[in-house]
Symmetry: C2
């Protein structure tokens, strides 16, 4: 951020009076510009023994496989966001979806929420942001070609929980440690 | 938003190519400015049969009682945000906290997350944003003087769940219906 979105003058980064964090502050109109984490919402769509994955048509990680997911928009609930993304990326509809995985990713200021549910029908197809959408059995999952760490962790947890048919909401922190490759 | 935060030129609201939502777009430097929901994180701090409430020293709802909570910051997890807010507003520390209530509030673009945990000690006090902090038994709760709908709903659910000592993560949508008074 370089300019104030309210008055167009330059902003400076500093800790405002009474605050504990550095903010972009406009010294012209006094607006304090807060920046906060964003929610990524998506779905783990299940059909019998198979799960639905999308191959990304866009960067980052174009060509890699993902669960349908994307940034939550203003004016919707987390569940609505997850279902909308699943429709946009996989033209798929779910039924009886429930929150399943919540990931904190503080190094990229994101909170992921994946809902688990059954595919309502097999009438799915690649949306504009997908090259391909298909169902995978566990032994077919392209583990080395998954787009993001959250995807593999969700799938692995699901295949474990599926054995006992119990799917509690699970919360995981994915922390960036210096020296690791960031994704 | 009136000006581009990257180049300082005026922005216009329109649906960018390939998008489905209206955004503030800069026709000078082509930046698309996305706006997304924010997470409010807080704690339901328990001590025996009592719960901790703070009386707000700031607007909105100055003078009304709340659970300690506030906007999640970049660089932290939801749990860290909840514990930080509890420290800032009530100088209280928790132990064994777990996610308890998640509220979607799409009409104000917020997602609330309350963690439930035991007070680590009784060494709490009003932080800068609180007039007063104290413990309440169920029959003492100032139901008509609670700051926000999320607070009353969390407390009511807790007193129900406490009877059976089972605290599943609960998800609620609070939807604004035209004709209601907004808070």
């Amino acid at each position: 951020m370089k300019f104030c979105s309210e008055c167009g003058q330059g902003v400076t980064a500093r800790v405002p009076d009474g605050d504990t964090h550095s903010r972009f502050v406009c010294d012209h109109c006094q607006t304090i510009h807060y920046q906060n984490p964003r929610i990524v919402a998506g779905c783990l769509a299940v059909h019998g023994q198979q799960v639905l994955l999308c191959r990304r048509a866009i960067e980052p990680r174009r060509g890699y496989w993902t669960l349908p997911a994307g940034f939550m928009e203003n004016g919707e609930t987390t569940e609505e966001a997850a279902l909308r993304e699943t429709w946009e990326e996989a033209r798929a509809r779910l039924q009886q979806q429930e929150l399943y995985m919540l990931f904190n990713l503080p190094h990229i200021n994101q909170v992921y929420m994946f809902f688990r549910g059954d595919l309502a029908d097999l009438d799915f197809s690649a949306g504009e942001e997908s090259l391909e959408v298909r169902l995978f059995h566990e032994h077919e999952i392209p583990w080395d070609e998954l787009a993001f760490p959250t995807i593999g962790k969700t799938l692995k947890q699901y295949f474990i929980d599926r054995q006992v048919q119990t799917f509690p909401i699970r919360i995981r922190d994915i922390l960036y440690r210096p020296g690791q490759t960031r994704r």
